[in-house]
Amino acid sequence: MKQLLQIELFKIFRRPRTYISFGIVTAITFVIQLAMLTDGKSYMSFALQGVNEQFDIHGNMINGYFITYIILQTLLIQIPLLVALVAGDTLAGEANLGTLRLILTKPISRNQLVLAKFGSSFIYTVLLVIWLAIVALGVSLLLFGRGDMVNIKSDTFILILQDDVLWRYGAAFCFAMLAMTTIASLSILLSVFADNSIGPIISTMGIVVVLTILSNLDLPLFNHIKPYIFTTHMIGWKGFFDDPIPYRQIGISSLVLVLYTVAFAAATMLIFNKKDIKS
């Protein structure tokens, strides 16, 4: 199994496509950082319109911690695409290349192969999120400095003391890893059905976009199903920047994401074990 995982990682990290994701994360991050560097104050004044009527807030509000939050919020849509770019390719890409045929003439079980694909996609996802943490948090702190963090919810202004922020990002990035693992898991499941990787990548994105819209629509019809949609729980990382931190809700979200991940993985194994390899 270890050997299989090593092989999968070797394949992922020898492919130029893999590094495109890291490049895109870097580029988007820099663009947001640049935008905030030039236009951060007007963004902040817009966001704080209501607060500023009654309170004077002085100091470095547009600091590294705040910018990182903005970056994370913006990347909510992009990162799943980047995860799908690799995870959606795991089985479908091999089917397209014809290598799946060759792999499955070898004495390894299909379950082992799926698990290795999951393992390697998970490691890729974790590394992508760590990279995001480095360029978003690390570079933003270098460019914009530290400071108390302002978090603006639709009806609440939250201030988090600067010495109380870093651990929250640690927890938030861990949560993001879990959320993105769910996406990876979905991508791999969709990857079983396809013989080229475009299908699963686009399908993953389609599902994420549609479900994210459903999760955010404030309609009574959808309010009942929202708790069961995984995209509702993908923004659970934000909970760590709330006051008080909704640990119970974060726990529920984590559980939902874990259940979805396991369900997707189980479905992948079930289907892949019955699939005729005709490619």
Binding site: Q3, I7, K11, R14, G98, L102, I103, T105, D276
Partner: protein, 311 residues
């Protein structure tokens, strides 16, 4: 008696309503080279995919060294090396890296020395560090064979290994198969729709058509020299049909149609026939020998097709 290295019993597989393989049974004994013949779409690849666990049969069983093979018994494939259809590999990796990856999938303990050995055996020495996307089709085939044999399996399953190759490439692969059989003692199941290729390497032949086995026999029995079909192009001569009919050549089933004399006999008789024609003032403009097997094959498959039509 030792059990066959590979045996299939009543293998059946349909795709939608199309029966790709229909009640196919055969057994392959150790040390032989089985030619698996059939036209394109006859069910060869489907059969081979089932043998390697890529496709699951609707019915029937596969036995490897006497033990039943199924998806949960994939470890049994340790003793088989295979190329199914094209040997597709990771183009962005070198030949060496591809070989290393697939070797590790077969056996964790294969050493670099063995990789060098097979690279040399398939004639890729010096090119192993090149990216596979820069390889010719022939090089890919040879790398495919290297991948199939690197873990030293007893048996090889090669699906149309000469497909898409130029004549030189075909000859190289053919020689490699012969060497693997003779020098390395591998049991080989090789499929092809090109009959003359199989006849040069196979010890036994299975012919399938429309998913069903048509015949199975030692190559020597199917390919007897007396069954060679000889075609002789003649200059027009009105007397010739009668002449032939009255001669001893009639016993070989000689027939004339449109100045083409066809006769089934051992090619060693050709000089004698030629001499006889010259003696009877019949000018010969060309002689071709069509292997009897080819004719035999076409005959069988046509018969099966005709039978299908009448049903």
């Amino acid at each position: 008696m030792a059990s066959p290295i590979l045996e299939v019993r009543s293998l059946t597989k349909s795709f939608n309503h199309f029966k790709a393989v229909d009640d196919l049974s055969f057994a392959i004994n150790k040390g032989s080279v089985y030619g698996f013949l059939g036209q394109n779409g006859a069910g060869k690849s489907t059969t081979m995919r089932m043998l390697m666990g890529l496709i699951f049969p609707d019915r029937g069983s596969i036995f490897i060294n006497g033990s039943a093979f199924s998806n949960s018994q994939r470890h049994m494939l340790r003793n088989i090396g295979a190329i199914i259809e094209r040997p597709d590999m990771y183009g962005y990796l070198s030949g060496w890296e591809n070989l290393r990856i697939f070797a590790a999938l077969s056996d964790n303990n294969i050493k670099a020395g063995r990789l060098h050995e097979v690279i040399e055996m398939v004639g890729l020495k010096g090119r192993e560090k090149d990216k596979v996307k820069a390889y010719s089709q022939g090089m890919k085939q040879r790398l495919g064979i290297a991948i199939a044999i690197v873990h030293e399996p007893d048996m090889l399953i090669l699906d149309e290994p000469t497909n898409g190759l130029d004549p030189q490439g075909i000859a190289e692969i053919r020689n490699l198969i012969i060497s693997l059989s003779k020098d390395h003692g591998k049991t080989i199941l090789v499929s092809s729709h090109l009959l003359h290729e199989v006849e040069q390497v196979a010890t036994d032949i299975i012919i399938i058509h429309k998913g069903r086995k048509v015949t199975e026999a030692p190559a020597g029995q199917l390919l007897h020299p007396d069954d060679t079909m000889i075609e002789i192009t003649l200059k027009p001569g009105n007397e010739l049909p009668a002449l032939i009919a009255g001669s001893g050549w009639a016993q070989f089933g000689a027939q004339i149609s449109n100045n083409l004399l066809t006769i089934k006999m051992n090619p060693s008789h050709i000089p004698q026939l030629n001499k006889w024609l010259v003696e009877h003032d019949v000018e010969v403009s060309g002689i071709t020998t069509q292997h009897s097997f080819e004719a035999y094959f076409l005959n069988i498959t046509n018969e099966t097709t005709a039978a299908d039509r009448t049903v």
